[in-house]
């Protein structure tokens, strides 16, 4: 930790970090509370999109101001997560649908056509 910071910087970074952490925690608690896999798969995306975006933005702003140069490589992580999360969750949902259809359990829709 460094000795002194501008007040606006600390308030901005604090608000962004706490907001992102709140959203991420809400998504993870949704993972407990929802009672069906197809409902649960929506919950953690809140942490990966908005929560992660806010925390990574806070990190980028903080290091840009304190290092006195442009530090934006957090945005690489954000782009990567934003691109890959829908792919993985879509694959997982397809696999679950396939398993449910094979076992004939749950009230999943039948294969069309």
């Amino acid at each position: 930790m460094i000795d002194d910071l501008p007040l606006w910087l600390s308030i901005l970074v604090s608000a962004l970090v706490v907001g992102g952490a709140l959203l991420t925690m809400a998504g993870c608690l949704g993972l407990i509370r929802l009672h069906n896999f197809y409902l649960r798969i929506h919950a953690p995306t809140m942490g990966t999109s908005m929560g992660g975006g806010l925390i990574l933005l806070a990190s980028a702003i903080y290091f840009t101001i304190t290092r006195e140069r442009l530090v934006v490589h957090e945005m690489a992580i954000f782009l990567f997560i934003t691109v890959t999360t829908p792919v993985t969750l879509m694959l997982l949902a397809r696999a679950t649908l396939f398993r449910d259809r094979v076992e004939g359990k749950g009230d999943v829709p039948r294969r069309g056509g």
Partner: protein
């Protein structure tokens, strides 16, 4: 003053992320079927990544960025491999 604000809010944020990790861990241990556990593992990876980023702000060092990037990459590959395994029964055909 401003350093204290940042310090305490980072502590609160880390605490909340820790609660989130416990929630995903609960789902990973209890989760009724395999896909629930894989979903929880994916969420756990992302929360660990965010926890490392807050740790980097707190200790004022950029070393943790590379670790966060590595966790993101490995989490993606792992989840895709596990979903493929659930779908087909083997990872590489």
């Amino acid at each position: 003053m401003s350093v204290a604000i940042l310090e305490w809010s980072l502590l609160a944020a880390q605490f909340m992320l820790g609660i989130g990790m416990l929630a995903t861990l609960y789902r990973m241990v209890v989760g009724p079927r395999a896909q629930d556990r894989i979903l929880a593992l994916d969420a756990l990876y992302v929360v660990a990544l965010l926890l490392l980023i807050t740790l980097g702000i707190r200790t004022n060092s950029q070393v943790y960025f590379e670790l966060a990037m590595l966790i993101g990459l490995l989490g993606f590959v792992g989840t895709v491999a596990l979903a493929k395994f659930l779908m087909r029964g083997e990872v590489i055909e």
